[in-house]
Symmetry: D2
Subunit: 429 residues, 4 copies
């Protein structure tokens, strides 16, 4: 390894990297290696990773099966970049995806490899919905996050990102997510009211775009019943029903799809983040055959054939989704996580949010949550907050984390809540 | 390797992959391995690659130094996915980029790692320009190609891609590229006329966005003089001057930047394609410090920390750009390429287009060019056409191709022109 | 008069006038003269006018004082068309408006003469709000109607008109009007919730644009309390508070402004319809001095100096608003109207809607309301329906109508309800 | 008349009228009466009107036949405001328009009465074109002026007005007007080039919208040949050909339509300004029957039935267009105007611009033109400048002006040019 000291090496970033950098401000260390749920800085210090690449590392860092498959592939001069040509690696991924994911669920989606970012998958989905319906308006939800390229950004709720466009965003109408106006207001009924009223000012929609659990939005989890109502509204009003499963999919909430078992059949599903299994850039748009009306290359992109990612993605499907074992394991961990977070929340009069391995505790505000996350980092835990005011301390541990490491990490979280809320109590007294 | 026959395996694509697939229609083989300028199908047949991932594989497939560096990195459990945290791999890339690219050219760009697609880098560039100027209008050029996400797509000229949006594209005004109205019309003067006329209807621009050679647009190469005039117009009217160097950069036209030696200092440069050196998804936006006004994470994306790509990109810089040897080699090959293409063009009363290792021959139309490309493929050469009517047969060979393989590939091209234009002559007689 | 028969003369319209014509389909007679609340067809048949030019004829047809003032003016060769030059007629109007309207209310609005349509006044108001705030987003309400030019149309809720644009409408976010989700949901609280949430996806607004009573929207009357809450929300979030008083103003709901006495001080008020008093095209935008940041002619229009309208408008102010007599008279008639409509509504299990002389009865649907209006017309009463489904039979009688004629007109309405709902009962049995 | 002094009365405007006022700054007098080409201020001073309401008073102020018809109509309690109901006044106008304008020219336009502003007619035209074609993009020209409501403003070239929107304008692509790049560049060929190139970035147009003479744009007159080429381009590319004849129509350039005798048959024509003949607000959109696809009231507006204007418009058609006398008279005056202006231009090395009674002299810049206009006003002549820099001194005299008054007015212009350019010469020496 390099012998230069930390200060010197971080200076490279100060000198050459754009001010847009963000996580490096919260976690100002030079990271180097990572295995499973552990990430090491260049001094060799180990950190437990409760961020997991914002749910891009559901199977942990450098998962051995995936790593081996990738090294084998590269060693054999497997194609790395394949545009959208037929390759062995892509065939492997598609066959695995069909066998382990689509067929068992009775789904016949066509798989589109978009540019390898979640935003790009969302852009493709919105284009298709507009093509299919001849309509412009897309309905997206309060606190939704769908990416920051201009088409996806119009659907994203976050004000900082929206202002970053520095140009008005159009083509999207906002509806209220499940529970947005409190538990007593059914926001799906409100949407139905507006769409049924020809003078409401809400134009007939091309699509309704929704996350089942809003990761960036603060771990807001929609109920299955509300989602079914939204799907029914989409059907009734001639709109495509699109689930953005980029953060909540790939096992994060339990099933491969976050909507498994809810009785939903979205017309389009967008996936990215943990799809490659190893954190490599990969995104797909899953499309019901009747809406797969693309002309060849109508939506394209240089890196839509990231074959390294196909290899690791196929390995992940074979390793984790060939039978129900992994799903059961995630369910057990999620139950444990719920239990621990509820205990923390109860101790401080707070509430938990989220679903599956995508849960957190809503603090009293962003400053409090930041203080907790900072304290955790000092103790060797990488964790962040989300929500409109960054007020929800969010646990996104690798799904493959050991029970022991999960418990230890949660101990740190527990202690940090105690320290911060305790000290605040003390300060208030 | 797999024993299933070709028909069965291609059937997976027919069954599961979206209709959007495109190159696989022109090259309907299952590809498998690739080394240098050669790509192999699963029957073991070798093809010379004159497409090179649309200029994403300037150093060839699986270049040994890059491949070795990547395998070493993965084997050592190097971080694959790092969000935008500080990592050893990123530091390595930034330090190499500063040392071999920026410093020798006296440039002080800040490097932003955007989502790892060229379109994403363009989206970031346009946001910054709008932020910096408080203006909305971006000037882009006829036949320009900048990606297909909504913000970038507004700047792209291609009608098929524009229609794919199925929604009006706004925020961009079109100007005529160098030579668009023939050699006698100075289109930069026309742009100046419009911008100087307060009632022309062309709103004051946030940016002028230009490619030095329009790869997708048909290998239209702008003169250095015209580009300098465009830069001067941008300065005079308070607009940022942005060069999209995604396809023409990384040595494709000779220098690392396609505008090396032209006396240009763009305010923002976008790069992707060959930047990672091995075809891995990576994109950056280079920003003059005074315009690097991003708030942390204002433009973000899950895969902006593709550390595998940092490793190969750094290796590529060390291998190819530490001294002038590679650049000289590319210049020699480019001269040879010019010579060969001019001979082909002259033989058929056609003309060559492009610059450096990004040249082609303009045929009489798309059908003719398709016939030529198809014939080449039958002979073991992968090549495509570009331009408004797909009328330009385009050579995008790896820059590292051997003289012998380059010559052999060009022999195939020469023969294909002869066969198609000869047979057409015959048919016409 | 012309000697050609009715059929021949209506044939001119069939032959030469566009299909866009509308009221002539409901009232297929050739009209000729009109006085007060009575309009005559060319056969000399008299109709009572409960439509009053959609509230453009609040003082009735050819009100004698206004008519005399106009004839005098024209006879003396008074300037008809004055662009925006200073004219005696404009001075007269401004002085009267200041004396009788602004000063007594302690208002210091600057008066902008926009193009002489309500839509044009709304367009001007939205431009100013965007200029003043540097923001793009305007909040408008469900069922609002603000005109059909592109800027105003974006704020209009009506689906038929929106689709007429045949292009996406942007720059406006929709909020729910008072009572939209029923009496138990405070929609102002909902708006506050969204604007206070930085990730709601509702961008910071330039303006909140509201009608106090939605005439076209179905006579939805906002409560003073709700309007004050909306005004407070606008102030809190840095938006201009704009009241569109085009249909509800000029005495229609009692006071000169529909918001008189509600404790509101909108930043901008738009007026048109009955402003000229005689149905002549005139529109103004009233602007708080601090927002009157127009450059000369920045918003212009050929007919912004309709001096005939200035003359009749000034005469209307002198005749009706110099003291409180007219306002008291309108209040008495409105009370009588309420009483009669409630009786009709009660008789059929329906409900009344609206406020002042802008009230109606909500039927069970558009077909029913059409049948009632048609029957009224057969009996010599001109009346129409409004609302999302044209389900509200709307009384917009001239405010100057005699008690006797008002009563007689309401007798016709009463009978029509009886006939239609009675016959429907009979049909249902 | 009022006895208050001028200062006091102008103070009303200072106190109450918006800063947007414009002409009153150039002509700071209180105007009162006007007859023919003469306008009087309240001191009784007579001014010759070479502005004519920006071509809204082609028949002069208070033309006796029109004035008499209007007084008769009002005296007889003729309907003033008729929404879009059938009225005797409207029938009279339509019948006259058909008899004297459409039938002699073999045109079968359907007449739509839009809101009574030119901008509103343009908005209607653009909606129809988008409906008819299902396309969004409208092509408009450099220096074009079509109004300032958001839809029309997008087509307007003037930067001050565009910035007034304070929001991006979309849906319009700009093309270069005839002669924009000098006499040697055929801008129609350039447009054809762009539309024939599928990658030019110019989307397939719904319409091409053009003025035959750009009044506000600086009296740029397109040649008949260029206009025919533009019409042919529209047909070839499936776009509607729309002529905005608002300023150049109604005899201003000679014929009733500015395109009379040019071999053009636009799909839609917009008219306003002088259509009512007396300066009253009136606008129409003339539509080929196959494009008159409006649903009833799809485009509406309260004042679309300005019956006073129908009466004066019908009278104007009967008085001026029943035979060819007026047209011949205008031709004679236009020839005289040309002769006089050429003499002025020649004397100062300048050039004339425009066509018919819509001509002017291009000075060396806006300041010079302002000085000339100011001097004229001091001498009793109302005149203004237009063009990108307000550099063209523009004569828009009433077409009915006497030869004597026209000559006297031109003497003032001549002297003003002499004084200003002479004094500048003196200053320069």
């Amino acid at each position: 390894m390099n012998t230069s000291n930390n200060t010197t090496r971080l200076a490279t970033f100060e000198r050459v990297e754009s001010q847009v950098r963000s996580y490096s401000r919260s976690f100002p260390k030079m990271f180097d290696r990572a295995v499973g749920a552990t990430i090491f800085d260049d001094k060799g210090r180990a950190y437990t990773d409760f961020l997991a690449g914002c749910s891009s590392l559901n199977y942990g860092h450098n998962q051995p099966d995936l790593k081996a498959a990738l090294i084998d592939y590269i060693s054999a001069d497997g194609i790395a970049h394949g545009l959208d040509m037929f390759t062995r690696a892509k065939e492997k991924f598609l066959a695995s995806f069909e066998r382990h994911i689509l067929t068992p669920r009775g789904l016949d989606y066509q798989v589109q490899f978009t540019g390898p970012t979640g935003a790009n998958a969302v852009e493709a989905a919105l284009k298709l919905a507009r093509k299919a319906t001849g309509r412009d308006n897309v309905i997206a939800f309060t606190n939704g996050f769908h990416g920051v390229t201009l088409g996806a950004l119009a659907a994203t709720g976050n004000g900082k990102h929206r202002q970053g466009a520095a140009t008005p965003l159009s083509g999207v109408t906002r509806a209220a997510f499940d529970g947005y106006y409190g538990p007593d207001v059914n926001t799906a009924d409100m949407l139905e009211r507006q769409l049924s009223d020809p003078s409401s000012g809400m134009d007939a929609p091309a699509a309704i775009l929704v996350e089942t659990v809003q990761g960036e939005g603060g771990l807001n989890a929609a109920s299955a019943e509300w989602l079914r109502q939204i799907e029914a509204i989409a059907r009734r009003h001639g709109a495509l029903f699109i689930i953005d499963d980029i953060q909540a999919g790939c096992g994060r909430t339990g099933g491969f799809f976050s909507f498994d078992g809810m009785g939903l059949t979205p017309d389009i599903v967008t996936m990215a983040k943990s799809l490659s299994g190893m954190g490599l850039p990969l995104a797909v748009t899953l499309i019901k055959p009747e809406y797969d009306t693309w002309k060849p290359a109508e939506h394209n992109g240089t890196f839509r054939g990231n074959n390294h990612a196909f290899i690791t993605a196929a390995a992940a499907l074979e390793t984790f989704w060939a039978d129900g074992g992994f799903e059961a394991e995630v369910a057990r961990k999620a139950a444990y996580l719920s239990e621990r977070l509820e205990a923390i929340a109860d101790a401080h009069g707070l509430r938990t949010k989220g679903r599956g391995m995508m849960q957190g505790v809503e603090t009293q505000g962003g400053e409090q949550a930041q203080a907790i996350c900072k304290l955790c980092f000092d103790k060797g835990l990488i964790i962040e907050a989300s929500g409109s005011f960054d007020e929800v301390v969010k646990i996104l541990a690798p799904l493959t984390i050991s029970q022991k490491q999960l418990a230890a990490g949660l101990d740190i979280v527990d202690a940090a809540f105690g320290a911060v809320l305790g000290s605040q109590l003390a300060a208030a007294e």
